[in-house]
């Protein structure tokens, strides 16, 4: 009990809020969910908020002159305020509800990109980006003739900032990077990147999908220009995401999707766009997922992001120790103090898919493959990794089980 007393939070108490974590699979093997970088699970509080909304307070938002629509609109806008406070945005109007990180990034690439980027301009990305922060810029390059540059990484998976400086020029229009790598777990120095990018006159978009639920997001401290993240990686339903942008940038950008809600006035052959945030929220938005995101933020705030980050560090340290004991395991990514709760690895002689399949037998859910980062895997010289990713409801016992199951997996393959 001493060890527990020293932990930054009590995972057992929190686990009780997550019905799915009590699941047993494969004839009574307890589920060990270590795929949190793909998506987290939801606590009862979020699930109940969804149920309550649908059962008592659901109608379309910003539409009706009727009581139910007011109820729904209030909840939806409360959620927006919850997001604003969560990321310390200066104004609620700067918080755009999208359907996920991918749509948020595409919104910027389409709207800001098409209006501001020309042939000869440059967009700087990193080698470790998720495909969702690569492909929209490749599409922008195809439309505009701009050039993409990539900040290289060290063998340990850290950005090489000296090389970044060399990539920056008056042609650089935007730097887009992940705050935390979804494979390496690398915590990137966002503030420093922003400082250098702004000195060169470039804007910065931060893909915060892997950090929003795990460490504090302060868009003003980062001094970023756009920040994107998803609800489903932070206890909320899938189908809702956020784009935060500086008001003056969002105001100057043309609308992305056209349709209802995003207009002030429509004539047969023209329209006037609505003010923020409606301008970027065409059609019926993800109403209940957004309200669920509000509840998820309340839950995360109650646990405390500082506690979450500190506890994930405990889990990650244990994971590194346990995997080293297995032998023949190569962990990709930087030193512990520079990474989040994501541990990607290869096992000598066992393909990542076989690792995942064999771990699944013991109830352990990990991801295997390239995790939507094919260029990063090419850089690392491997085709696939297995990835264990943690959240506050994981336990040290589960990490120990991961180690034992990996040792068993190695034994399945006899002669290698």
């Amino acid at each position: 009990m001493n060890a527990l007393a020293t932990l930054p939070l009590d995972p057992q108490t929190l686990r009780a809020d997550f019905p799915i974590l009590a699941t047993t699979i494969h004839d009574n093997v307890p589920l060990v969910y270590l795929d949190n970088a793909a998506t987290t699970q939801r606590p009862r509080q979020v699930i109940q908020t969804i149920v309550d909304t649908y059962e008592r307070r659901y109608a379309n938002v910003h539409r009706g002159i009727h009581w139910l629509s007011d109820q729904s609109t209030d909840l939806f806008e409360e959620a927006r305020e919850g997001v604003r406070a969560f990321i310390n945005a200066p104004a609620r109007e700067e918080v755009i509800f999208t359907h996920g990180t991918t749509e948020s990034i595409n919104l910027v690439a389409r709207s800001w990109g098409d209006a501001n980027v020309r042939a000869g301009d440059e967009i700087v990305l990193t080698v470790m980006e998720h495909h969702s922060n690569l492909v929209p810029w490749q599409q922008l390059a195809a439309r505009t003739g701009c050039t993409l540059r990539h900040i290289p990484i060290t063998d340990d998976g850290e950005l090489i900032l000296d090389e970044f400086d060399k990539l920056l020029s008056p042609r650089t229009r935007l730097v887009a990077l992940a705050s935390v790598s979804n494979v390496l777990g690398t915590i990137n120095p966002v503030e420093e990147i922003v400082r250098r990018a702004h000195s060169a006159g470039a804007l910065v978009l931060v893909d915060a999908a892997q950090s929003a639920a795990h460490m504090p997001t302060d868009v003003q401290r980062w001094n970023a220009d756009f920040v994107a993240f998803s609800g489903h990686k932070m206890l909320a339903p899938s189908g809702v995401g956020v784009l935060w942008g500086r008001r003056e940038l969002l105001d100057a950008m043309p609308p992305f999707l056209g349709g209802g809600s995003m207009i002030r006035r429509v004539k047969v052959d023209s329209f006037e766009p609505a003010d923020l945030p409606a301008k970027f929220e065409a059609g019926t938005p993800p109403i209940v997922p957004a309200i669920g995101l509000g509840a998820a933020i309340d839950y995360i705030n109650a646990v405390g992001l500082a506690n979450i980050h500190a506890y994930e560090d405990v889990l990650t340290r244990r994971a590194h120790t346990v995997l080293a004991e297995v032998g023949g395991v190569r962990i990709v990514g930087p030193a512990l103090e520079k990474k989040a709760g994501i541990v990607s690895f290869t096992v000598e002689g066992v393909h990542a898919h076989d690792v995942a399949q064999l771990l699944d037998r013991q109830g352990i859910a990990v991801r295997a493959g390239h995790h939507c980062t094919m260029p990063l895997h090419k850089r690392l010289g491997i085709t696939a990794t297995a990835r264990a990713s943690f959240y506050f409801y994981n336990t040290l016992d589960e990490i120990n089980l991961l180690g034992r199951a990996l040792a068993d997996a190695k034994h399945v393959f006899r002669r290698r």
Binding site: A352, D354, R361, F413, R414
Partner: protein, 154 residues
């Protein structure tokens, strides 16, 4: 532990993975093809030495990937060696899964079927200076049609 999943790592399959049949290259390939499954990185190349009459004198595979993709390729080249190209054309995806033996989830069926798809293309892919345009000299027939959801290289 689930019996159906456990089957994947049964002796017969591990034998093919760790001690494969004809992993390597034909001395005189007449037909060859390779492909990968970009989602997981599995790669398989198949080389055939087809006699003028259409009999597959020799079949080899090479590649890299998970146990299922590589064991399946080994089983497949062993299975079709000595058979006619017509037999390969008739050999369905379903039969391939049956040949593999273990029950597979849809995701892992793709691993198993990679070599089968490569083989179906290989019989239509003469090596430069090698045999006729198609392995049995009968023109482009039905083999490609039998594939379902084929993953093409981008």
């Amino acid at each position: 532990m689930p019996a159906d999943e456990e089957e994947i790592y049964q002796e017969h399959i591990l034998d093919h993975y760790e001690d494969p049949y004809h992993r390597g290259h034909c001395a005189h390939p007449t037909h060859a093809h390779e492909d990968d499954n970009p989602l997981c990185g599995d790669e398989v190349r198949i080389e055939l030495d087809v006699e003028p009459g259409g009999r597959i004198r020799e079949a080899y595979f090479n590649g890299d990937g998970c146990c299922i993709s590589q064991a399946a390729a080994s089983m497949l080249v062993e299975h079709i060696e000595g058979k006619d190209v017509g037999f390969v054309k008739q050999f369905s995806a379903e039969e391939m899964l049956k040949l593999f033996g273990a029950r597979l989830t849809p995701n892992r069926q793709k691993c198993c079927l990679l070599s089968w798809k490569v083989l179906q293309s290989a019989i239509f892919s003469p090596v430069d200076g090698g045999g006729p345009r198609t392995a049995d000299g009968k023109g482009n027939a039905t083999a490609g049609d039998a594939t379902t959801g084929e993953v093409k290289k981008p």
